[in-house]
């Protein structure tokens, strides 16, 4: 395999995460095939690709849900993700937003954010220790960021679909993650909600590093600085949106030409 174009361009210290030569098979089906992916600190990366391209499996590998057959995955240069369990990876600073919003429906917006707060999560601490003023401030800050201050005491079940998605992003933010994995954030949203989501994600880039998997091309165009196209478990193309849309191989994959 040829030297990856990105790896040569940036210095090693800029890299937040790199996946190298990752392969995963399920019963003979190769979900990921020698995948290489390099993510720089503070970037907002969009991942696109047809169904079955391996987007979700890639997320599963990063978060420890699926173990690859082969390859290496380093985070922050020193942390070997393949050695850690799911909770350990979450503690190490990788947060994931699932496709379906999975907030805790029976609890309030505030309680959802509190549950997602970073820090010690042992039974004993949560039985005894109350929130500090600092933690309360952090919750307020996140409520502000995701625009749900007025819904703070509403039960999460009563929130609209878009609000639930934002709440879930807020829950990720409570963990102060370095890297946010966001799976199809705008599926099922109204145009206004999509617009607000784009603003939200753009405001987060820089402070955090974001990987966004999305099908909605218009949305990707509105937020993307760099786009990676996955196909059959490996990277097909990478670059800005214009060069991706001009790429012949991408057209073939998407349009079957």
């Amino acid at each position: 395999m040829a030297e990856h174009p990105i790896a040569g361009r940036c210095t090693v210290s800029d890299l937040l995460m790199y996946l190298e030569d990752i392969s995963v098979s399920f019963d003979g089906f190769r979900a990921l095939n020698a995948l290489n992916l390099y993510i720089e600190t503070g970037e907002l990366r969009c991942i696109i690709g047809p169904n079955g391209a391996g987007k979700t499996t890639m997320m599963d590998v990063i978060t420890g849900k699926t173990r690859p057959d082969r390859g290496s995955a380093l985070f922050g240069r020193t942390i070997d993700l393949l050695q850690l369990s799911e909770p350990q990876i979450a503690q190490a600073g990788i947060g994931r937003k699932f496709q379906k919003p999975t907030v805790f429906e029976n609890q309030t917006t505030l309680a959802n954010l509190e549950l997602a707060m970073s820090g010690a999560k042992t039974v004993w601490r949560w039985l005894n220790v109350r929130m500090t003023a600092q933690q309360r401030d952090r919750i307020e800050e996140v409520l502000q960021t995701i625009g749900l201050r007025e819904q703070r005491l509403a039960s999460a079940a009563t929130l609209s679909h878009g609000q639930k998605q934002w709440l879930e992003i807020g829950m990720l933010l409570m963990q102060d993650p370095q890297l946010l994995l966001i799976d199809e954030p705008v599926a099922g949203m109204t145009p206004q909600e999509i617009e607000r989501t784009a603003e939200l994600l753009l405001s987060l880039a820089g402070k955090h590093t974001l990987i966004v998997v999305e099908h909605d091309m218009e949305f990707v165009r509105s937020i993307a600085r760099k786009v990676t196209v996955l196909h059959e478990g490996s990277v097909l193309a990478e670059g800005d949106m214009d060069s991706i849309q001009a790429d012949v191989r991408v057209k073939q994959v998407y349009l079957g030409e």
């Binding site: 978060t63 799911e86 979450a90 999975t102 999560k121 039974v123 005894n128 109350r130």
Partner: protein, 374 residues
């Protein structure tokens, strides 16, 4: 943070209106029942007999057991169909103490060996019977035996991520296995007869009215304390984590919670509460035998909770009282229909009252309030 515990407990109860009513009710029972039993004449309409007082105490131990099941089922989503096992183990631990208290007053008059051991021709006390002549030791075992069993069982089950119906089946198997074991004479727990013919507890005659009233009082206090403890647990931040685990377990895991630890911890607490309830049950009912381990018993507990209203705590208490009152009445009046009655009740509740009796009352009240406001 410890000095906050009292204020935290008080705050937890203050926020729980229905629970306050329950505690007032318990306090009233705690005072009025023994008073009526002691002060009114037997012919008086206000008189509560020893029998009724003990029956009420029995219901209260069941209510504690229901509370224990609601804590794990209603709040953490762990459907245990074997909680009767922890109740029975607590009961057996207390029973062993009571057996040792009989001493030379047994049929065979052996100062050390309980009657059934003499009958089996045993010459010395098995090792696990040592120490049960001491009340504090017995109390320790009441907590420790169910607690350690729950710890071991829960550790293995939750670590392997056994949940849902599989866990329920395992808990059934657990209580069934214990029942078969306790039926065996050579286990050293009296075989199918279990323990009975208790004489006294801490030197007080178990048949005496004063002892019965004292046991009644202890049971009411234990039920009240268990309620406050459970309410406190579910109102803490840990309680919110437990509910989060019930509603979306994998999400909670992704947030960095060690789901297994939370489940294990709440499961052990629940088992200990069940054990204490069993220990209060045995001296008042006067018998403990392997029938207490019967899988059907454990299923009945779940029905009490479902009928009362799952996930409310007070609903569990209400359900235990309602079903057991009905059971006492129906098994007396129409012995053959009780099981049909119980089954029918369960069907009616699951079909029409999904939030149980307390849920239905709450709904009725809020519609009435809305009607009044109009």
């Amino acid at each position: 943070m410890r000095e906050n515990l009292f204020t935290d407990l008080a705050a937890a109860v203050r926020a729980d209106r229905s629970g306050q009513w329950l505690l007032y009710g318990l306090a009233a029972i705690l005072v009025l029942v023994p008073l009526s039993n002691a002060l009114t004449a037997e012919a008086s309409a206000l008189h509560i007999t020893n029998y009724t007082m003990t029956l009420l105490a029995k219901y209260m131990t069941y209510a504690m057991l229901a509370l224990a099941v609601d804590l794990i089922w209603g709040y953490c989503g762990i459907l245990s169909l074997g909680h009767g096992a922890f109740f029975a183990l607590g009961g057996y631990a207390m029973g062993m103490y009571l057996m040792r208290q009989i001493g030379t007053r047994g049929v065979y008059g052996d100062p050390l060996l309980p009657d059934f051991m003499v009958f089996l021709n045993w010459k010395e006390l098995p090792w696990f019977w040592h120490g049960f002549d001491s009340f504090p030791y017995a109390l320790l075992m009441v907590v420790l035996v169910p607690g350690v069993l729950a710890l071991a069982f829960g550790f293995l089950a939750f670590r392997s991520r056994v949940s849902g119906v599989y866990l329920s089946i395992m808990t059934q198997a657990l209580t069934y296995a214990l029942m078969l074991a306790f039926f065996r004479n050579d286990m050293g727990f009296g075989g199918n007869n279990g323990f009975t013919d208790f004489k006294d507890l801490l030197g007080f005659n178990l048949q005496a009215t004063g002892t019965r009233a004292a046991l009644f009082g202890c049971t009411a206090l234990a039920l009240g304390a268990s309620y406050v403890l459970c309410r406190y647990v579910v109102s803490t931040r840990a309680g919110r984590v437990i509910e989060a685990i019930r509603d979306a377990e994998s999400r909670a895991r992704f947030l960095g919670y060690r789901v297994e630890s939370y489940k294990l911890w709440v499961f052990v607490l629940s088992a200990v509460l069940a054990g204490i309830a069993g220990a209060l049950y045995v001296p008042q009912v006067g018998i403990i035998n392997p029938g207490e381990f019967s899988p059907v018993n454990s299923i009945e507990i779940v029905i009490w909770v479902a009928i009362g209203g799952r996930g409310t705590l007070y609903g569990a208490v209400v359900g235990a009282f309602i079903v057991n009152f009905a059971k006492t009445y129906l098994t007396g009046a129409f012995p053959s229909v009780w099981l049909y009655g119980l089954g029918g009740l369960f069907i009616v509740v699951t079909l029409f009252l999904q939030h149980g009796v307390v849920g239905a009352i709450g709904q009725w009240r809020s519609t009435r309030l809305r009607g009044a406001a109009r």
